[in-house]
């Protein structure tokens, strides 16, 4: 992959353009990008969905007051967007204009309710697949929330999970799950049968620390948000390490516009070196490097591939999206 551009900038306002803890994105068929704006702490007012384009045109927003802890989102073939909320234990569904349609998950007998919904994906089979992180399982639902089947349990064996997070599907209908606290990606066939694992704990090539999200491009390459290592890894279709992405953000259009009217910071910034190559020994960790160095990933929480096979890396702690394109 090759770096292409950066989208977004930080704004902690409850309305309008700018991101505050962006958490996941997905693509409407008309090219619009929908993004979960998570906000932080007690600031619930700005938890919402923002809509913009690859060209950085900010369009609109919706969903304020609808969410507490939204986690992931996914469009169905009708361009309705499904959004999970781990606190409310709900999936909320909106039409392409942001109009609320329905919700499900937190009704009925207690043992039928969903438990900590995180990753969500629409499969070509027409069903919705949901990561229930607190139940350590993957569940198949109809679009109206009827549970069809589930697989997985707590543990570190094949097909078991520890607080799983993201989920995606490849062109053959196989599932890939970010098994967050087992530091691996698990692959399942379209029926939920375990196929194989990728990765192990660590910070070397092909090793992960708390992977949060996985996306598969048209050629079968896996792109893993190696969240705890503050990086993205690309694995080839066989699961072998292929490429390490550390982030190389530049100024987005919105960022440039802001700096043009804040020239005191613009001037000082121009004279600074914000890509930190060396740190004191006690700060030589992935977290500290990311927190002290602006261009690299900090909190790469979500990876998504668009129809043009471009990779979008959403960074919750730098409040932006870095976009990469195929290099060949």
């Amino acid at each position: 992959m090759k770096y292409l551009k950066t989208i977004g900038f930080n704004s902690n306002q409850p309305v309008g353009r700018g991101f505050n803890y962006p958490y996941d994105i997905d693509f409407c068929s008309d090219g619009r990008i929908f993004m979960i704006n998570r906000m932080g702490g007690m600031n619930k007012a700005g938890v919402r969905i923002q809509i913009f384009t690859f060209e950085e045109e900010w369009l609109e927003e919706f969903g304020s007051e609808e969410f507490t802890i939204p986690v992931c989102l996914s469009f169905d073939e009708d361009d309705n967007v499904y959004i999970t909320d781990e606190f409310l234990n709900e999936v909320k569904i909106f039409d392409p204009s942001g109009k609320f349609l329905r919700k499900w998950g937190n009704e009925g007998p207690e043992d039928a309710r969903i438990q900590g919904p995180a990753g969500i994906i629409h499969h070509p089979d027409g069903f919705v697949y949901l990561v229930e992180q607190f139940a350590n399982r993957i569940s198949k639902f109809t679009k109206d929330g009827e549970r069809i089947k589930s697989w997985g349990s707590e543990g570190s064996g094949a097909g078991q999970f520890k607080l799983p997070w993201g989920i995606t599907v490849d062109s053959s209908g196989n599932f890939y799950v970010s098994d967050w606290r087992n530091d691996r990606i698990q692959k399942f066939d379209p029926d939920g049968e375990f196929l194989e694992n990728f990765g192990e704990s660590g910070n070397g090539e092909g090793q992960f620390h708390r992977p949060s999200s996985v996306a598969v491009d048209s050629k079968g390459f896996m792109h893993v948000a190696d969240w705890g290592n503050e990086r993205v890894q690309v694995l080839d279709p066989d699961g072998a390490f292929y490429q390490m992405l550390e982030g190389e953000a530049t100024l987005s259009m919105w960022a440039e516009e802001w700096l043009k009217v804040n020239l005191d910071e613009f001037d000082l910034r121009r004279d600074s070196s914000l890509l930190i190559e060396d740190l004191p020994d006690h700060l030589k960790t992935a977290y500290h490097k990311a927190s002290q160095s602006e261009p690299v990933f900090w909190g790469p929480v979500s990876v998504k591939i668009d129809l043009e096979d471009r990779l979008y890396v959403t960074e919750h702690s730098r409040h932006r999206i870095q976009v990469f394109e195929q290099s060949n």
């Binding site: 900038f9 803890y21 781990e86 804040n262 910071e265 700060l283 927190s291 900090w298 909190g299 919750h316």
Partner: protein
Amino acid sequence: MKFSGRQLAAHLARRAGFGATPDELDRYVEISYEDLVEQFLDTSGASYTPDDLIFRRHVDIHTMQGHVAAYWAYRMISTDKPFHEKIALFWHQIFATGENKLNNLGSLNNQVDMFRRHGLGRYDDLLVELSKDPAMIIWLDNHDNHNGSINENYGREILELFSMGVGNYTEEDIKECSRAFTGWNVKNGEYLSKMAFKDSIWPYGRIQWHHEYREDDHDDGEKQFLGESGRFNGEEVVEIICRQDATANFIARHIYNFFVADEVPVPQWGETPPQDPEAVAFLANAYKLYDHDIKSVMRVLFNSDFFKAAVFQRVKSPVELIIGTLRATGEYRVPVGGDVGLFGAMEEGKFMGQTLLDPPSVEGWHTGKEWINSGALVERVNFASSRVGDVSKPGVKSLISRIVKILGKDFSCTELIDASIEVLGTAQIDMSTRETLIKEMEDEGSFNLDDQIGTENRIANLLTFLVSTPEFQLA
């Protein structure tokens, strides 16, 4: 007064930590007091709520852009090495650095981590690390301290507030000290300090800081400092400071004030002698005897007779009260997304007079009896009583079951109150308060132990009374 082994263990746990549950005390009394001191002093390999869970559930804590007091609180309430956090809290009180000027809580959190790494080592090393600490550099303007154009702020405070105290140095010493710290800056300090002072989050959020030594901005000339001369840099100045008797006395009094018994506020130390000059001299001598090693000073302190006799001689700081209560009630051990209760608990400290990571000034907080005024007392009582009165909290359930176990089937209201006092680990309460509580319990009638919910609620109600007594405010 002679204290039992269990009372002494509880005393040590309050001072070197945030108190102990009955189960913890059971373990503590299995070993000698001296071994228990060593156990507290060993801060290696601490276990606490892991960062990955906190960051996943509270994304703004990942950036350290907000609620970092709650982040520290997760550590304080869950750690199995509470002295590690207590010593960090001690240094935070002395080297008081605040978010209100920095607007960079991540760097302030890194300062707290520095206190964990160096807080029990040689004082010389701690002061050098403090002088390199980027939060301290920005807080006291050392990024504006240049060769040929000194800013005296840090040079003054390292002498006045961090080592020797007023009256033990000259204005000329301040200037020479400041010259020694020229060039001690922060990477990209010009831009990042501008962001801090404008409270700017643009374009991509806050950037945390690290130290940069700028040799070309350092005044390498001859200096006269505290009667010595040389081309001193910061390290040499710190070495001179740390071998002064005034520094030994100053640090000893701080240790006494925080760990033994309340002193008058620091600004009055110049004219008010220590309440126990022998104890302070004993600690100052230990500082010199053990080559400025803080852990060694703490060891002789915790084993000293004056420490063992100082049971309930301090007013709990708001942070000690909050954390001690939450450790007792067993709350917030596992972070839950959307549950910001711990954020709110730490913010209640503000109404009690102490906002962690946001001291009122570089002097820190005024402690002891100054923690208590009518408004703060109401907040303290309300906080503690609302927590221990909630039988749904795991720690409260545990306290109640321990009380029931002590009492057995047949007990008097007096025995119930005594058992509750023991389990809470609080002081012997005032006799008139005790009589009032006994009458209150007797007026409510006898207990029906078959009614588990009713029994739990009555005992929980008694616990709320006990944490509302003046004695519960003491450590």
